[in-house]
């Protein structure tokens, strides 16, 4: 395996594949709007929503799919979704204002996350459902409602710290939610504030890839709802948060070969695969591998809507072993989900122009500098390893076979590495070429972006297909009725 390129080819579904192939369009976009540039594809988000809906339908479940807005600031994506029947999960005052402005009625919005008083007030004022983290937040909300003579606010009680019997499933500690063990206290508060809040159900969001942990939480939520009922409440819904994941890579074999290569490199059995021998969390302790691979599992057999499907099929041991979906249905509960990353799968890419390609005196990898900062292309920040696609300036370009490169950003900082790993490209890039980083819409576009050193943060455009052609406008100019939107 030594020396052979270890590719991590991105998974491209037809829409994104077609966009990557529209080379002239992409060059003229960056010529006009600069590098880096984000391109979002709003029609894809509607298609992804439909995949979630079909899982709901297959299980006969009702309830809402709330897009977790935090994952991307794009107006185009949000407005495109406003034209569907989806909801949106907002985690700040700004996001709530954005959602209301994009056309979401309050009935389709749920407010989660840490909340300041203004956020709480606007949510209560407009009639948004509020996911309440703790007794103190419930008290604060009730005080606001009374003081400003608002209508009672629908709330979901956000829980954490679910426990199992038999096999104990350990879970990472969460900053959010009230431990289920303290649910009674939360319910007492809800009863105290019966004039101001309407407890519509319970919620959780666990930051984990583990289906077992989420199944435990969902089972625990059913038990919590039963406790609500036994106290005379009429809960209707359980919100299971997001975290359904994306499979980023086209080939499982690429991921397997790469991670094996990385292991060997860390153990010194092959040349380093990273800048400075970085091990992505792995280390060598006298010949034995220690630590944990701190990478997003970039190839997954089950992600997105399929992950939800798998979760719903898990049996609930404490409730007679029936699948969770059947229990939700039988109890007449609505299921709410808050997919962020998963709804943004294939919804966009980031373009960066190659400024310089430098060979080192010692041979080895080429040093490639891009007109972008690492924080503009934050795949690496999220541990997502995926090769960019080279979009040559002049047709096919010089060719010459595979090369290994390091990708650097434009900041005057040693740490401004677009990727910490050696990237293998099928051919040598040239100044003026574009590198297209696929599937960046979920958290990798604007979540981290800064204007450090007076360098621009990437602009964003929305693009859509019109027959064989790609059309575009500035992200902020996009509305679902934008002219030339073709079939839409």
């Amino acid at each position: 395996m030594d020396g052979r390129p270890l590719y991590l080819e991105p998974r491209l579904e037809p829409r994104l594949r077609s966009l990557v192939a529209a080379q002239n369009t992409l060059h003229s976009l960056t010529d006009g709007l600069g590098s880096p540039l984000h391109v979002v594809v709003p029609d894809q988000i509607a298609e992804n929503l439909e995949r979630f809906r079909s899982v709901y339908r297959a299980h006969h479940l009702s309830g809402q799919v709330f897009y977790a807005h935090k994952a991307n600031r794009s107006s185009a994506l949000l407005r495109r979704l406003a034209a569907t029947d989806a909801g949106v999960d907002v985690a700040s005052l700004g996001e709530l204002q954005h959602a209301l402005g994009a056309g979401f009625g309050a009935g389709r919005i749920t407010a989660t996350g840490p909340k300041n008083p203004e956020f709480l007030w606007l949510a209560a004022r407009t009639g948004v459902t509020v996911s309440v983290d703790a007794v103190a937040e419930l008290d604060q909300l009730a005080t606001l409602v009374r003081k400003h003579a608002l209508a009672p606010v629908r709330v979901l009680l956000r829980l954490s710290g679910f426990e199992t019997t038999g096999v104990k499933v350990l879970s990472r500690r969460s900053r959010f939610g009230t431990p289920v063990g303290e649910l009674e206290l939360l319910l007492e508060a809800a009863e105290r504030h019966a004039d101001a809040v309407d407890p519509a159900g319970v919620a959780f969001h666990l930051d984990t890839t583990s289906v077992a942990e989420k199944a435990t939480a969902l089972e625990g939520s059913l038990a919590a709802l039963e406790l609500c009922r036994s106290r005379g409440l009429r809960p209707r819904a359980v919100d299971i948060g997001g975290g359904f994941g994306i499979s980023y890579l086209a080939e499982r074999e690429h991921w397997e070969a790469y991670t094996t290569g990385l292991t060997e490199a860390v153990l010194g059995r092959r040349p380093p695969l990273t800048w400075g021998g970085h091990g992505y969390g792995l280390r060598n302790e006298s010949g034995t591998l220690r630590g944990t691979l701190g990478l997003y599992p970039a190839h997954r057999s089950v992600a997105g809507a399929a992950y939800l499907d798998e979760l719903l099929a898990q049996p609930a041991a404490s409730l007679g072993g029936r699948p969770l979906a059947a229990l939700l249905l039988e109890h007449l509960y609505d299921l709410h989900t808050e997919p962020g990353r998963a709804l943004l799968d294939q919804c966009g890419l980031t373009l960066a122009r190659v400024l310089e390609v430098r060979a080192q005196d010692t041979g080895g990898e080429l040093l490639v500098r891009l007109a972008a900062k690492a924080d503009d292309i934050a795949l690496e920040d999220h541990g997502v390893l995926m090769d960019p696609v080279v979009i040559p300036r002049g047709g096919a370009g010089p060719g010459g076979g595979p090369v290994a490169v390091h990708l650097f950003g434009s900041l005057c900082l040693e740490t401004d590495l677009i990727t910490r790993r050696t990237v293998f490209l099928p051919r040598r890039p040239e100044p003026g070429d574009l590198l297209a980083f696929a599937n960046t819409a979920g958290y990798a576009m604007d979540f981290h972006a800064t204007r450090a050193q007076h360098q621009p943060a990437a602009r964003k455009v929305a693009a859509w297909q019109d027959g064989d052609a790609w059309r575009w406008c500035l992200d902020d100019q996009f509305w679902p009725i934008t002219p030339l939107r073709g079939a839409q």
């Binding site: 006969h60 104990k168 499933v169 930051d207 984990t208 289906v211 077992a212 591998l289 220690r290 944990t292």
Partner: protein, 439 residues
């Protein structure tokens, strides 16, 4: 054979020749070392006893809990050993994916902790992985734990260096086999046996088997995961090869059905890997040569693993009166009533209302006066014939009216004159504002 303690029955397992008509190798004699016949059921009995025994007296004195990172067999053996000495046992793992094994461990009195999954959003501030935390907890608490540490404990390897390996040589009349084939989990058995055999005859060739990277074979690691094992040294093996879950099950079937050896998937993987490896080498020489592989444990614990991957192997003859036998047309014609009609019907004719949902859902909210017969139980009931008098009208209800339609069609086919399904189910009932009670 008479023993004072079951632990004396560990080891001295049989070496059984596989019929050449089964494996098809012409010049190689293939033997299975039946570690599944150890008293607690697996090759891990040796390691568990070897690691625990010297520490037991002290642990008993201090009332320590025995702990191990184990997904199955080591945990099973340690749970028994701990129990025999009045100690508790805890297994920490995220690899225990076979439900029967979990249940068996709970039955044996073990406590099981599952490690949390990976974070979906990479947390750059996370300092430690769950395993590091586990080790820290152990060392912080001093002597409260007896940690057997199977992936790093030299006594794991030693059990096989002094037991399993020499037994093989003895049963081959003092000869060392030409090949030794073993799956790699903790690497204890393969390393120990390999060392024992090489001491006698350095020309033995050792084949290590791992699970294909994307596959899961209980008890075996993948090529990357073995690197995390302290006992693993690549120099031990002349070659490392991988086996898929399907191949392991295929090998297991051959052992089970054709050899009468009721080994589990790792034994199957070892058999499959051995035959595949040896077949390619058979032409090398016409001399008679010998190979040995290890059958680690028994098939019984893996039925759900097999059911998930090869449901065809567990096929049963079709059942009578099953709703699955109905055609879509029959279900489509099932007698049904709308919520409004049902409410009138209940008023006038008092049909028996049967709620097919789970008892938990029923207990939470139901139609007043209905009885709850959970669908699974109902399926069992009708298998034997009609469970109601023909003169008793019946209204069946489920969440959305799908299952109840099936059963209404089935009961009609079985000769019930007046059974109907509640169209739209309990959800339609609720949405129409009809009363649901909790009593």
């Amino acid at each position: 054979m008479r023993y004072d303690s079951i632990t004396e029955a560990i080891g001295n397992t049989p070496l059984v020749r596989i019929d050449p008509a089964v494996h098809g190798l012409r010049t190689i004699d293939l033997y299975a070392k039946l570690e599944m016949l150890n008293p607690f059921g697996s090759v891990k009995d040796r390691a568990a006893w070897s690691m625990a025994e010297p520490l037991l007296a002290e642990a008993v004195e201090q009332g320590s809990q025995v702990v191990e990172l184990s997904s199955g067999n080591t945990a099973k053996a340690l749970a028994v050993i701990a129990g025999m000495h009045g100690l508790g046992f805890k297994s920490v793992t995220n690899r225990m994916r076979v439900p029967e094994i979990k249940d068996l461990l709970l039955l044996l009195g073990a406590e099981i902790e599952e490690l949390p999954g990976q974070s979906e959003c990479l947390d750059p501030t996370a300092t430690d992985d769950p395993l590091t935390l586990f080790h820290r907890t152990l060392s912080a608490s001093g002597s409260a734990y007896l940690h057997t540490d199977q992936y790093f404990n030299a006594r794991n390897t030693e059990a096989h260096l002094t037991g399993t390996g020499p037994e093989i040589v003895k049963d081959l009349d003092g000869r060392v086999p030409d090949w030794f084939v073993a799956c790699v989990g903790t690497a204890g058995s393969s390393t120990g046996v390999a060392r024992a055999l090489r001491e006698e005859d350095p020309s033995v060739r050792v084949v290590g088997l791992v699970a294909a990277k994307s596959d899961f074979i209980p008890g075996i690691r993948t090529i990357d995961e073995v690197q995390e094992v302290g006992l693993f040294d690549p120099e031990t093996y002349d070659t490392m090869e991988s086996v898929s879950a399907d191949e392991a099950i295929e090998g297991m079937l051959t052992l089970n059905r054709r050899c009468g050896i009721l080994g589990g998937p790792t034994g199957g993987a070892a058999y499959f890997g051995a035959v595949r490896h040896l077949r390619a080498l058979e032409e090398e020489s016409q001399e008679r040569r010998t190979a040995v592989f290890i059958v680690c444990d028994r098939v019984e614990s893996y039925l759900s693993y097999v059911r998930q991957r090869r449901p065809d192997l567990l096929g049963r003859p079709p059942r009578q009166n099953s709703p699955a036998d109905l055609s879509d047309a029959e279900v489509g014609e099932a007698p049904s009533v709308t919520v409004a009609e049902a409410r009138r019907w209940i008023e006038t004719d008092r049909p028996l209302v049967v709620d097919l949902r789970s008892s938990y859902a029923y207990a939470a909210l139901h139609i007043d006066g209905s009885v709850n017969i959970v669908d699974e139980l109902f399926a069992e009931l009708v298998r034997g014939g009609l469970p109601f008098s023909r003169r008793q009208p019946v209204l069946l209800a489920c969440p959305v009216g799908e299952q109840s339609a099936r059963y209404a069609a089935l009961l009609t086919r079985m000769g019930h004159p007046d059974v109907r399904s509640l169209a739209g189910g309990i959800i339609a009932w609720r949405d129409a504002g009809a009363p649901l009670v909790r009593d």
